[in-house]
Amino acid sequence: MANKKKQKAAQARAERNRWLGWGLLAALAAGIIVVVVYSINTSEQKLAPGMGLGGVTYCQATPKFALDMGYDTTAIMSTNETLKGLFIYDRPTQLGQTPTNVYQHPSWDDAGYLGTPVNDELGNIYAAPAPRVNLYDNPPEQQNTIFKVDTKTGDMEAFVALPFPAPMPPENPFGIIGLAYDCDTRSLYAASIAGSTRDRELGVIYQIDSQTGEVVSQLEDIDAFGMAVFNRVLGKRLYFGLTRKSEVWSVALGNDGRFRGKPRFEFSMAGWGSEGDEKARRIIFRKSDEMIVRGTQFNYNLIAGSERLQTDYQLRYDPTQDIWLREDNAQE
């Protein structure tokens, strides 16, 4: 009887041990899978064949309607501080020259003052409202909508209305404040700070399919400003300035333009220029290794642009360290 009991107990122990072993094995396998999946999703992806190094705006075309109107490929599509909406004019032959042959389509001021536009390979123009001085022409509810100017007709219409993470607070009148285009993936990137407050950073960077307007992927809880995509041997990265700090960060992109992994710090602009606290309003890649960062004040207010200095800074890419080094010789 006693032996039987002992035998039973031994069998039960063996059974328990088997289950425990299998459980641990299953957990280990799951962990390995998780790590592999996570690292695949978040690690950088080497550039696909055919994707060149450097900036990715090579395809951006002049709108067809502009060419039909007699403008050449050097014509400037402008959204400036004083004129409401979008304008096109001939490129001045001298710096400071008054623009000539200025044209504005009747729909181009429908969205109020606009931020810096970007073009796609067909010549469509994308722009987002950007309040200047006040909100009279830029109602808050329209600040998170991207507008598209059709390359053939020149008509401007709402292209995609991005969601608001929170109601627009009185302390932040801004929505979309940065746009970038990647010719490789035909992705439009939009940086929105709609709903962000002094205490809550709710900004989102969206990857948008330029043909459908569908949001493909997004990077949340980050207030970003100027943006641009740059191709390195190691893969694509979207570089962006922060609105709350004088810093430029970046995040890896897949060859499909989707965000991969966590953003990383690239460099600080603290102390640069005469102001010392500028934010990266625009990022432009020239050549295969040159970045131009346009710094300006940004404090989530509507101080007129004429009150803010803007400075361009030049940086050079060091592929051996995968870092950007400032090149211009500004006095600090």
Binding site: A26, V34, A270, N301, S306
Partner: protein, 610 residues
């Protein structure tokens, strides 16, 4: 089955399962835990990527100091006085450059060669008037490898010096490369909005100003010795502070107490303390303390994020700096009787051309995270109102500045609430130029939510006529009593206030308000302006369409909760002798400052005698 487990982990399993007293339910818990962990891990790997930017700074705030030189009787600073005298003497010289003293022969020669060269003298005088500007040689340094350019290539075989001069008026650095062997100034380079390394005596002066300032002593809890100030006089540290708004030369003596550091930003152009700011010692993520960051942090934390109660004499109220409606007062009481639910300045409409609609709708408010175009650099001030040398009440005043003021297209607005001991009060909007032209019309939109239920009436010339429904009126379209009262509001018992519009009687040289007056029914449930308002109207309407008209719906307003909108119309002028709502830069002791021609508008509220 056990044999199916890989050998490499059998040992782990064995050692784990060899514990004789491990109960079955414990094993089950482990199983559940493992399974749950695996699911959680899988879910985490599938979620979208989140950023991890640092949270906002929570360091204790400091104070913005009203810009005023230390009272020499209370806080004697002989060095500051000596500096002022020296500057006056230098400005009277043919070449207004304060040269560096105590240099060796070669450096002194280099300094002299630079100072007399017309190329180096390019910015010594005001271009328009020829008046001397304040200039000073800050340093004469041996030529460095990094200074070699095409123009200075000969310095590799000669003895050269780098002469650095600072222009206080233009915030400009001029650098001259001098070959003392060749007795030649080889090259001159100018760096706008840049300051060279500061000479030691200015460092000492900054420390003295900081240590003698009562604000520093009050913050520290004791008067510090100069030795306690950790001076930031190296090139790297000098970058840590800037006076971006005043564009003046600033240094920041820092006082360390335990884990905290008190930055005292000193403006050496004016010889004043700008403000103080606490930071944590050794915090690498701490933001740089500058004039702008200090002002923005202090104003935001002290005045934008919370109401401040104010009790003075028989008056009680709260005030707060809003995002876009200026300084709002609320719960205003006189002798415990509620008068105003709130009062604020919604917009400034500025119109420069009646035909071309050129102008701006400016909101005033908090410096950061706001809809304001012209912002507060410091908090409100409370001062005595005096008549014939006697205090008759107090004034609560808030200023809003454009950073480039008094340059064209930059603005300086003022909000003022005057409270008198006899129960009168006045709500005032002021402008100190300069704007984009001398043909501008300023229209501040004042909103006053009256407390309780009232009826509103205007004087017909012989009687008070009660307004029955929501309506607007141009102020000159109705008459005034002999006392100057044009409107009144009163409750069912007849208690209330007369309204006396400005006709130039309140401020010397003031023009009439010529205001649009609107009375609308208060709808707290609809929020018709109780919270911060977005831009209420366009810049350039010359008629009553300034924004409040959108709330006129013919609703009855007798014995009701009312909102009074008051929109004065002020025309500016820059004509010599007639300047109004205007400002222009002038030179004072070699540095640009402003001469102000303010304009103020707003009605006086006079209690109806019982």
């Amino acid at each position: 089955m056990y044999d199916l487990i890989p050998k490499s982990i059998r040992g782990i399993v064995k050692s784990y399962t060899s514990v004789e007293h491990l109960e079955f339910n414990v094993i089950q818990k482990i199983r559940k835990f493992i399974a749950t962990s695996a699911i959680v891990l899988l879910l985490v790997s599938c979620t979208s990527v989140q950023s991890h930017t640092p949270a906002a700074d929570s360091t204790p705030v400091g104070a913005v100091v009203p810009r005023a030189t230390l009272n020499p009787e209370q806080y004697p600073l002989p060095a500051l006085q000596a500096q002022a005298t020296l500057v006056q003497n230098i400005l009277a010289q043919p070449v207004p450059i304060q040269l560096m003293l105590g240099l060796d022969a070669e450096r002194a020669q280099a300094q002299q060669l630079a100072a007399v060269d017309p190329r180096f003298q390019g910015d010594l005088w005001d271009a328009a008037t020829g008046a001397p500007l304040r200039n000073e040689i800050f340093g004469v340094y041996p030529f460095r490898e990094s200074d070699i350019t095409q123009a200075t290539a000969q310095c590799q075989q000669s003895k050269c010096y780098r002469v650095e001069m600072y222009n206080y008026a233009k915030n400009l650095t001029t650098i001259g490369m001098v070959d003392v062997n060749a007795q030649t100034l080889l090259a001159v380079t100018k760096f706008p909005n840049t300051q060279p390394d500061v000479p030691p005596y200015l460092v000492d002066l900054a420390v003295q100003i900081a240590t003698e300032s009562p604000e520093v002593a009050a913050a520290l809890g004791y008067k510090p010795d100069s030795e306690e100030a950790r001076m930031e006089n190296t090139k790297t540290a000098l970058n840590l502070t800037r006076c971006q708004r005043s564009r003046h030369l600033c240094l920041a003596p820092t006082f360390v107490t335990g884990e905290d550091a008190l930055w005292a930003i000193v403006d050496l152009t004016e010889g004043v303390l700008v403000g103080i700011r606490w930071t944590k010692v050794g915090d690498p993520g701490a933001p740089t303390v500058t004039e702008r960051s200090l002002q923005d942090d202090v104003v935001s934390q002290l005045y934008c994020e919370k109401n401040t109660p104010l009790a003075r004499g028989d008056w009680n109220m709260d005030f707060i700096l809003t995002s876009s409606d200026g300084l709002r007062i609320s719960n205003v009481q006189y002798k415990n009787r509620s008068l105003l639910e709130s009062a604020k300045l919604v917009d400034w409409h500025v119109n420069y051309s009646a035909t071309q609609a050129f102008g701006y709708s400016d909101a005033v408010g908090c410096p950061v995270f706001s809809q304001a175009a012209v912002v507060a650099f410091q908090g409100p001030t409370i001062k005595d109102l005096t008549e014939n040398g006697k205090s008759v009440g107090f004034v609560l005043e808030q200023e809003f500045w454009g950073e480039q003021w008094p340059q064209p297209c930059s603005y300086f607005y003022v909000q003022r609430y005057e409270f008198y001991n006899d129960g009168r009060f006045r709500v005032v909007a002021g402008n100190v130029g300069r704007g984009c032209g001398d043909n501008g019309a300023y229209r501040p939109v004042l909103r006053l939510a009256l407390a309780g239920e009232n009826s509103f009436a205007s004087w017909t010339g012989s009687a008070w006529e009660t307004w029955s429904t929501e309506v607007w009126q141009l102020q000159p379209d109705s008459a005034a009593t002999a006392e100057g009262y044009q409107y009144r509001f009163a409750d069912a018992n007849g208690a209330g206030y007369y309204i006396e519009p400005g006709r130039g009687q309140f401020d010397a040289g003031a023009h009439a308000d010529n205001a649009f007056v609107y009375v609308t029914l208060h709808h707290p449930d609809l929020d018709e302006g109780d919270s911060d308002m977005v831009t209420i109207g366009p810049c350039c309407n010359n008629n009553y369409e300034q924004g409040p008209e959108r709330f006129l719906n013919d609703e009855p307003i007798e014995n009701a909760e009312l909102v009074l909108w008051y929109v004065p119309q002020i025309e500016n002028s820059g004509a010599p002798g007639q300047e109004y709502c205007w400002a222009k830069p002038i030179l004072d002791r070699g540095v640009y400052t402003a001469i102000e021609y303010p304009c103020y508008a707003g009605p006086m509220f006079v209690p109806i005698a019982p």
